[in-house]
Amino acid sequence: MKDSTFAPCANWADKLATRYQDDLSYAERIALNQHLASCPTCAAVYAAYRVIGTQISDLPVVEPLPDLPFHLIQHMERSVSYKRRFEPAILTWCKSLSTARLHGVLNRLVQTIATPFHQRVRYATTGNHSFYALQSNDGPLLWQYKKSTVFFSASSMKNGVAFLSLFDSQIFLFATIMHLRPCNNSFLWKN
């Protein structure tokens, strides 16, 4: 923190302040670690930014006001989305899937699986990142399984369990079969 002449390598400057695993791909993380091992300036900047992160995250929390005037809020005018209010639940799900579709080209192929398990539950995968278990119009969405680094291939159903094969999008080596099934409005899974 005392050296004011930090000048990290231009190619790496934007990556030195990343904090979470999701911020960099696996390949980028490996490359960054290799670079830090060989570049003392970037290593110093990286260390300084870690300290800054700790300083900022360690600031004390601010005690808030304890309550909102709920008795007034209840009568406030709200923005009403009539379209949303009256559309059937299945359309809401489709909209969620449409939003998910924007995340990547592969998401164009949304696959719906006709399930023999539960008459009211439909499963859908967007191909990469997301797997949804949906319920019919009279019930809520049961659950969503989402992981940013994996691609789900087509699923199969057996005795109420969805079998998904998946592989890691970053290293293309990791592949496994995952089992998912609804359970008390939640889900169970294992590799």
Binding site: D14, A17, T18, Y49, G53, S79, V80, L141
Partner: protein, 209 residues
């Protein structure tokens, strides 16, 4: 924070995501108890975030209330329950930026005056080094542009990934990555300058004594 960006082993999540989505939906439908649950869950976090955004705890408290009122009114129009938190922080960030604009237009020549005052108070010394350091960190944050400050706070205080920050602030991930690193660099320089200033003041006081 987001239900989507974290590994769905869910052990890191503070609440059951299915329950959480249900609460958001109930609040959307006008259930005041559900909204109260969301308020209780986020109140301290939003208040802390806003206080750091505007550099003033009292204003942060008021802005937190303003934010939740906006959230209540806008909830029926929110279309993605899975990303409620990024949506919530977008409203909070916009509320803070609007407030900073209003403050600037009200006192155009008095930029962050209260911060300057606290800097003077801070240099009067005392044994509480940790408190002084916290004040310096807050002052250094206030010197950043609001966009950089929001990115740093969302990353380090709120715990968003850069993808979540991008979603929350309607920016590209590349821009967020640049803003965070530039924000860190600006912060480092500001903090260094404040530390030097304080050292010089302490030195002067010692020589006077």
């Amino acid at each position: 924070m987001s239900l989507s960006a974290r590994d769905p082993t869910l052990s890191t999540l503070p609440v059951d995501p299915v329950w959480f989505v249900e609460v958001v939906r109930d609040a959307q439908a006008g259930n005041i108890s559900a909204f109260n649950a969301l308020f209780q869950y986020y109140n301290t976090r939003i208040c802390t975030y806003l206080a750091r955004m505007v550099g003033n705890d009292e204003e942060g408290r008021d802005l937190a209330q303003e934010t939740f009122i906006k959230v209540w009114r806008a909830l029926p129009g929110m279309h993605d329950e899975f990303h409620f938190d990024t949506w919530l922080y977008r409203i909070a960030t916009n509320t803070a930026i609007d407030h900073l604009r209003r403050r600037k237009s009200r006192w155009p020549l008095c930029k962050d005056s209260e911060m300057d005052d606290s800097s003077e108070n801070m240099s009067t010394g005392g044994p509480e080094e940790q408190v002084e350091q916290s004040e310096q960190i807050k002052l250094a944050l206030v010197e950043l542009s609001p966009q950089y400050r929001a990115c740093l706070l969302l990353q380090y205080v709120v715990g968003f990934t850069q993808r979540e920050i991008a979603r929350s602030l309607n920016l590209s991930e590349k821009s967020v990555s640049i803003y965070v690193s530039r924000g860190c660099e600006q912060f480092r320089r500001a903090y260094e300058r404040l530390a030097k200033g304080q050292d010089a003041t302490s030195e002067r006081r010692r020589s006077v004594v």
